[in-house]
Amino acid sequence: MKALPVLVRLLRDPPLAAGLGLPEWDLALRQSTCTNLSPSLLALLEEHDLLERVPAAPRAHLEWVRALATRHRQAARFEVECIQAALGAQAAPLLLLKGAAYTMAGLRAGAGRLYNDIDILVPKARLDAVEAALMLHGWASSGHDAYDQRYYRQWMHELPPMQHLRRRTSIDVHHAILPETAPLHPDPDKLRAAAVPVDGAPGLATLAPADMVLHSAVHLFFDGEFDKGLRDLLDLHRLFQEFGVRPGFWDALPARARELELGRPLFYALRYSRRLLGTPVPQAVLEAMAPCGPRRPLLALMDALFERALLPMHASCDDALSAPARFALYVRGNWLRMPPLLLARHLFHKAFISRKDAPETV
């Protein structure tokens, strides 16, 4: 593996900050800006008491994003409160996923983490009631055509994204963490049964630590779009670091992955988090998860693909194979979510039909 980009080296080992020169800071902040990781970098440097060691010019530049991180946190907390007020007993406790979960649970993965949507998990049987309650309180299904509506409702694991008409905020209501059409079926009932309440926030819950990690892993390694790849990998790294010191976390993780049929995504998560970000993972866990990985030739291919696609999408990090790697993973991502016939039809529709027709009102 060739030398890692300076941003990745910084995220991997924050004390490096004290030794970087101005040209390296210039590059690091260009990489963090294009990956939307500047607020996370600021938070990381602050956590390690390193801000004072950053030279004046890059430090002043990095400070620009502080206001954004603060405002985002405020907006996310308010939005969660509004969702709780709207859903009440329809979704009690309200189970948050991804970024909103990290923020509300005060996890380190949430520090400086920006996101556009609030994601929640509700029982499939409650979907209609939840949708109705949201619409009653000002949310509307975003302007999709009839095909998109069916794509989401029939084949995916979520309602079409809903937007609040006044606040212009977005909510994604999931009933599972993988689409119906995917080959794996991690049981959402099991996830809900293991959910943990959020300290100091009555009525809110998140997935259990192991499940949070597994969800993040499947979200990253079963998806096709990697513009947020490094951010998602950083989430995993931070989650592993925070949960890894809790008794029993590492012991239970491999078994839980198998139980939820998520061995392969966890294998990748551990592998690339270690290789790129230096996450400390106990040897016993690596050995336990080794059988879940692909065979050697395929693993070599996946290494070549992921170790390019997970880097910042910046000219300084690309080589001749970066674009093909991302394309290959895009196809793979869609493949994993839909069986071939459905996929061809889906891509055909997206390419030729969605652009022409005006969206029908729902």
């Binding site: 101005l22 210039d26 060691r53 890059p58 620009w64 206001a67 405002r71 910046h314």
Partner: protein, 314 residues
């Protein structure tokens, strides 16, 4: 590895490069130039850009190639067949292309608009108002105004009649102490105001007007050397004046209530919402130390006199 305090040796300016050296640097590694608190690395192989920079950016500090830059901007020709037929220019911020391409003749205005966009969408250490800012005798006037109000004409005239230029587009308010931070880049002028300023300020250095832009005919006025030299000097806001040019109107300065001023300034801010509680306290503090006015004028001399007559608030 903290940077040392500024050296006492006079720093190099863009004027130290001759035309060839400037064009070479722009076409190659990029030109690093400081404007107030911002360092931009500008790359362009387009002649109009080099021409505009040579004419209007001579006084600004030129930084070494290995300096830190806040913005890495490029103005490059669009590829393909467009290179030869009605050539176009693209603005990019480190690979991000926020705008549609423009005709190549618009490249220098595009640089100015692009840099304003970079600052106003990213520099959230300040509460940023879409306004001109001028200063005299330690007191600054903030002139918020939507396009077409005549703010830039007024600004261009004021800075050649005893006022210092802090900015023609971006009022940067520092949250900690409420002071205004200068940027002092060229002043953008449109349509009639180009001729008005040419007549009013015979010594003015203006870029070649570019016609048929989305804003009409556009030219840029070189910032007074004194304003650029004093770019590190912050200013205390004393007046918030909403200008409105109206042909034939008498010159009137009408006081506004504080709440009126507050919401009108917030409405002209780039990042009031993003700044959250700090934005509120910064703006509230500014309103409290300033007098707010609606200003109508039609005659530049009378307008200048109107500003000269402004009393600092108690």
């Amino acid at each position: 590895m903290l940077t040392a305090a500024s050296p006492t040796v006079a720093s190099l300016t863009v004027a130290s490069l001759n035309r060839t050296a400037l064009a070479t640097r722009l076409a190659g590694p990029g030109l690093l130039v400081q404007t107030g608190p911002f360092v931009s690395r500008i790359r362009s192989s387009i002649g109009h850009v080099a021409e505009g920079i040579e004419l209007l950016y001579g006084d600004y500090p030129l930084l070494a190639e290995d300096s830190f830059a806040d913005f890495h901007v490029g103005l490059q020709p669009s590829g393909g067949l467009r290179r030869w037929y009605k050539p176009q220019v693209n603005f990019d911020l480190d690979g991000l292309v926020p705008f549609e391409p423009l005709p190549e003749a618009h490249a220098f205005p595009m640089l100015e608009w692009g840099l304003n966009w970079c600052i106003s969408t990213r520099a959230h250490s300040w509460l940023m108002i879409h306004a001109a800012v001028v200063e005299r005798d330690g007191c600054a006037a903030i002139l918020p105004a939507p396009p077409g109000s005549g703010k830039s004409t007024l600004c261009a005239a004021l800075v050649h009649r005893g006022w210092r230029l802090l900015s023609d587009e971006l009022a940067l308010l520092r949250p900690d102490d409420g002071l205004l931070v200068p940027v002092a880049r060229p002043v953008s002028l449109k349509n009639r105001s180009i001729d008005v300023i040419r007549a009013y300020v015979p010594e003015a250095v203006l870029s070649r007007p570019v016609s048929n832009t989305t804003k009409g005919t556009v030219a840029h006025l070189k910032a007074p050397a004194d304003s650029v030299a004093r770019v590190r000097e912050t200013a205390r806001p004393a007046w918030i004046v909403f200008p409105k040019y109206e042909a034939g109107a008498a010159t009137t300065m009408t006081p506004l209530t504080r709440t009126d001023t507050f919401f009108r300034v917030a409405g002209n801010a780039f990042n009031y919402s993003e700044m959250g509680a700090r934005g509120f306290t910064t703006l509230a503090g500014t309103i409290e130390r300033c007098a707010g006015y609606d200003f109508r004028y039609s005659d530049l001399d009378e307008a200048i006199a109107g500003f000269a007559a402004l009393e600092p608030p108690p």
